[in-house]
Symmetry: C2
Subunit: 374 residues, 2 copies
């Protein structure tokens, strides 16, 4: 019997948004859920206790970065990602496919493997689907992603088709290479911005023995409406009894729009990266903490937010950034991660109450956004 | 009745080391005590909860830095240092004298005031003893230090005498300028490396109405033995019923040697600065975390240390620094502050048990140091 399961608890009547629970050997994840990104074995700027205190139940690590530094064998000898980070909940690792695509290094992709240069020392690195799984098994994550072939958009249809078909073949090779019962494999749907290709890819992957399915190759520069369209086209062709993960997404509005289209899991560096760069997510929209108007503002960033940053005044938060103190990025990272978890928590409650569409409209109004829901 | 008091609880029979308690409006401090330094209104790299968790009972803020940025009036409007930082215990602020001395800016000292250039924008700043107290009253610290005239050593005797005498006159001006009953004033003994001048300065300041006394102008490049000699010469001439503070000191061994000579309070950036630079204090001496021998070391930095850093493996700590992750400096700052507090806690227990000299010998043996106690 599998150590992994997804239970669909309820669905919003108006949008079809899913409320579920994903079970893993390291505990359960209430979905929809947002996974903070711990690229190099740490969610940047915060301790593992602080990550847990934001309400996060599952985090992500990056196979490409960890394989290069400290090396996946070193991670394994240090107790795997769980032993190293002390994160007690589930961990998902990506496959390295997106980093190969996104990092500006010489890269060549053949049917056998991807070849690229290390961003650390320039050395030549080769990655096969089998090797990606082997690395992820060393890292000891609960969920391993298949190695996929991501292409820059826009691209000729033939290029998109070729990469999509290769991604399906590589997904099969990943399944065949896997040896750990305590690690789930998630497939990744590719196919660019053509709904037809996405549907074809989803249908083929759905026949294979995966514990979950991701929508990949999005959030790479296309308009949000394009991303929503592709997500909406893809999800109905994925198994209803497996979790669905939209990779690398996104802004809070992107999470809500994608939940409305059937997505359960997200990851993104935005809350942590923007936090380090003095930008806070709030119910009234984005707040630039360095703004001089906050200089002597005794109010918290957000009333009613339980995070450590919101126990301080806006004026103090601004001072920390102006004075280039580490505590500024630390506190704003905590706030932004807390904010993302709060939005997910509210979204789950709204789905249970069949008020999800209304909830999204209210959020958008607070963020100063025009309603774009269909 | 004063809101401040120092109670001498016990004294080590062999060394005379003092075990006491310093009471302030924001609570008590068990002495000997080490104060973490929060230069710009934050102990660098850690949240205020993490500072408290190290066991620290009192922290320090720097008047010079806070007056320039965000400005002491802004600090006052944001609730003072306590309201801004959320530190609930006592806070001590220095006077700006040492920063005027140590920062490489054009400076001129007359009987009336010190004149220097801001290290932030190069503007001309003038600081009088009265203004230093006014600033510290705006900051709302529990203990304000008098403005003193620090000179670089070695210096001609006449220069040292001139600065010492001016420091005494400025101490008197600070007392006269003070208006807050909830803020104590500590005098600062100057006099370079001449015991005779130090004793003269201590005796004169002891006749004045201060709640505590500091030994200043040390730890500026002289040999540790010189610092110990001056401390030993000075302390007997300070009132036994007031706390004694050795400013800007130092290594753990410096703390113990100075406690043996009658000091109660310390501050130093060393645990935080060294922590950010990958150097850990431990009972077996200093540990350079980047050392390649720790690459796959699954042991903690220190067994039995309760801090968050020591819940992780040495290999993980090394990885964080090699990968330039913020969590490395964060965790090592927490460890070093915890270590300093642990040494102070052990020192207090040893004084109570009349085993302080033996305790210092054991610590030195662990640190690989030859016994230098007289």
């Amino acid at each position: 019997m599998s150590q992994f399961s997804y239970q669909l608890l309820s669905q919003d009547l108006e949008t079809g948004a899913r409320r579920g629970v994903f079970s893993t050997p390291h505990g359960t994840v209430q979905t929809p859920a947002f996974m903070p990104v711990g690229t190099q074995g740490t969610v940047k700027g915060v301790t593992i206790d602080q990550v847990a205190a934001t309400g996060a139940e599952m985090i992500l690590g990056n196979t490409y970065h960890l394989a290069l530094r400290p090396g996946h064998e070193t991670v394994r000898r240090l107790g795997g990602l769980h032993g190293m980070t002390l994160w007690e909940g589930p961990i998902l690792t990506d496959s390295g496919g997106f980093q190969i695509f996104s990092l500006e290094s010489i890269r060549e992709i053949t049917e056998q493997q991807a070849t690229f240069r290390s961003h650390i020392d320039g050395s030549i690195v080769q990655l096969t689907p089998e090797h990606s799984i082997e690395i992820q098994e060393s890292l000891g994550s609960d969920v391993a992603m298949v190695l996929d072939h991501v292409v820059a958009l826009p691209a000729p249809r033939s290029t998109v088709v070729d990469a999509m078909e290769r991604s399906i073949r590589w997904a099969g090779r990943c399944l065949n290479a896997a040896t750990r019962d305590d690690q789930a494999r998630f497939a990744i749907v590719q196919g660019g911005l053509e709904a037809e290709l996405r549907i074809q890819c989803a249908k083929e992957l759905a026949t294979m023995d995966f514990e979950g399915f991701a929508v990949g190759g999005l959030s790479v520069g296309e308009a949000p409406s394009e991303m929503y369209r592709i997500t909406a086209a893809t999800c109905p062709h994925l198994p209803a009894d497996k979790p669905r993960y939209l990779m690398g997404v996104g802004r809070p509005i992107d999470l809500l729009e994608s939940i409305a289209r059937g997505i359960d899991l997200f990851d993104c560096v935005m809350p942590t990266r923007n936090g380090r760069n003095a930008m806070a997510f709030t119910d009234r929209g984005n707040v630039k903490i360095r703004n001089a108007t906050y200089r002597e503002d005794t109010r918290p960033l957000e009333e009613h937010c339980p995070c450590l940053a919101c126990r301080h005044s806006l004026g103090y938060l601004r001072h920390l950034f102006v004075a280039k103190e580490m505590l500024g990025p630390i506190l704003l990272t905590i706030h932004n991660l807390t904010y993302y978890q709060r939005v997910m928590s509210e979204a789950r409650a709204a789905i249970e109450n069949n008020t999800f569409a209304q909830y999204v409209r209210e959020k958008k109004a607070g963020w100063g956004m025009v309603d774009e829901l269909p």
